[in-house]
Amino acid sequence: MATTKPALADLDLRLGLYRVMVACRRFETRAQELFFEGLVRGTTHLGIGQEAVAAGFAAAMRADDYTFATYRGHNHALARGTPMGPLYGELFGRANGLMGGKGGSMHITSAEHHMMGSYAIVGAHLPIALGAAWSAQYRKSGQVAVCFFGDGTTNIGAFHEALNLAAVWKAPVVFVCENNQYMEYTAIAAVTAVARPAADRASAYGLEPIVVDGNDVDAVHEVAVATLGRARGGDGPSLVEAITYRHGGHSRADPGTYRPADEVSSWLARDPITTYRARLEAVGVDAADLDRIEAEATAKVAAAEAAAREAPEPSPDVIETEVWADGSSRWRN
């Protein structure tokens, strides 16, 4: 693993990475509390522990590059600049929600930020991301699509079809497998024929296996720069396997007890945020600067929560809007 070593990123970049990770963490930690309070409804899938993947990639992306994520997509949305208030609003099912309450936690989308959606059917967004990349290629826009998905996703048909076609078309897309070791409650190793669910499949598509420590944001960023560069340069897709861990359960109230306690604790010790803070301090970053970043995040999260709490429930009228581009849902005269 960790086939790359931390880039000598400049301080601004590194503080930026830290800022994004911390913001994600605070946002989601609070979201979980709010779930237990009954404010976040339905379901919610947290990426706590996986922030380095989102932050490392987002920092390497051009503003108009496309992000495609899963139901576990809050981190990716935030890392691309999606505002927290409407994000909470969506989780609460409020009228100020990013999608007006129509999408919910699993479908976070902020087209304005080129966050092209969160997809809740495992694997579906890999072909779709490939399509966005093909479009960029056709339009010669220089854009790249980055598609995030889990380890479990590597065993579904759409994965295979998307990887092959992307490779054949040399589409500018980077497929990023966040291998957090588990699907819902079952370990990926129990149901997969190879040890590295993504990397060990790369050669099936003529691609290099790329494995990165997904808890090391510098390493992720370096891989992101390389693979995005490759895509933008016309050299086609990449498949990256980022090894990471979700600190909590799969979704909702899942306590994640199917995981051995020592496994959990060893990964908690490798928390991408605390280890990165330590690294930054070790290279001389002032602790006060880091504290300030954390305080800012806390404040932003609080403000977002307040805004969403104040927002009204959506009006039932919107149920029948926005099926079609004319804003309506009319299917007859």
Binding site: R41, M106, N155, M183, E184, Y185, P314, P316, I319
Partner: protein
């Protein structure tokens, strides 16, 4: 009689069949050690072991296809699709392979399997995890489809589904998992294709399935109390085979039909029922046939929106009252 939740009835229904027949096996995502993401299969792994209760990768085509191949060769597999929306990723296996193989082989090959799935809305899961897909299934010749509304029917229809020599889809409704009901002691079997009259009435017939049954029944109570309208409520339970006679007999008595459908409006099971009555029961009708459905939109996730999108008791009451009034 024991009181069980609908959730526990699923595991009990499966266990009843696994106990009876060693060729019954269960596969699906997280159905084993974890007992299912909705805890619908809890205890089965411990009781029947890893050979009979197997976890799978996230590979719905392989899950459903494997169940088919096993059914063709001597097993009676039960495969779980975690959410009914995921029928879409295995739709070829369901609609083109499982449904058609017996016919295409002129009866050489049978496919006695059960596909079970968490169907329906109410949990604020949004458009890709809340669909009611009975109508997708009903439209495919070669599939049997049941949708129980009570714990007893879960057990009884599961038994019939597993024992049936043809493929049967069991739609388990997510919004009902926590509901409770009496389940008869001993072996309990409900034949496929028998509707249940939940409430007798003379002024109109309301047909519903799954989570809409209790709403229809509550609406009928209110219509009786507030308006003196006597509504007969029929729980179809089984869409294929369909108890057409029960519907026609009821409409012969009431002359009026309403359906209450959770699925989006177009081409639902209700359209089939209405069409059947509009043909065979036409002369007993004295007013329009009315479908009360979710509008033809994907389901929104916000609680306020999801609640208002599905047919509510209020909407059923209002619609029945208004349409009967109109017809006077």
């Amino acid at each position: 009689m024991a009181e069980l939740t609908y959730r526990a009835a699923v595991a009990a229904g499966i266990a009843q069949e696994m106990d009876r027949d060693p060729t019954v096996v269960l596969i699906g995502e997280d159905v084993g050690a974890a007992g299912g993401v909705f805890k619908l299969t809890e205890g089965l792994f411990d009781r029947f072991g890893p050979d009979r209760v197997r976890d799978t990768p996230i590979s719905e085509q392989a899950i459903v296809g494997a169940a088919m191949g096993a059914a063709m060769t001597g097993l009676r597999p039960i495969a779980e699709l975690m959410f009914s929306d995921f029928f879409a990723v295995a739709w070829d296996m369901v609609a083109n392979q499982i449904a058609k193989t017996r016919y295409m082989t002129d009866g050489q090959v049978s496919v006695p399997l059960v596909l079970r799935t968490a169907n329906g809305a109410g949990l604020r899961f949004g458009a890709q995890h809340s669909q009611s897909v009975e109508n997708w299934l009903m439209a495919i010749p070669g599939l049997k489809v049941v949708a129980p509304s009570t714990p007893a029917d879960v057990v009884g229809l599961m038994a019939s589904a597993v024992r049936d020599p043809d493929p049967v889809i069991v739609c388990e409704h997510k919004a009902l998992f926590a509901t409770k009901g009496e389940v008869p002691d001993g072996e309990h079997v409900v034949p496929l294709g028998t509707a249940a009259t939940v409430r007798e009435g003379t002024d109109c017939t309301i047909v519903a399935i799954a989570a809409m049954v209790s709403r229809a029944a509550e609406a009928a109570d209110r219509l009786a109390a507030d308006d003196g309208i006597s509504a007969e409520v029929i729980d179809l339970r089984s869409l294929v085979p369909l108890d057409a006679q029960a519907i026609l007999a009821s409409v012969a008595k009431t002359s009026r039909l309403f359906t209450v459908e959770e699925n989006p409006r177009l081409c639902g099971w209700g359209a089939e029922i209405v069409s059947l009555v509009a043909d065979e029961g036409f002369y007993s009708l004295d007013a329009p046939l009315v479908r009360i459905t979710t509008p033809h939109v994907p389901l929104p996730s916000a609680a306020a929106l999801e609640d208002a999108a599905l047919p509510t008791v209020d909407r059923i009451v209002d619609t029945v009252r208004r349409r009967l009034d109109e017809a006077k």
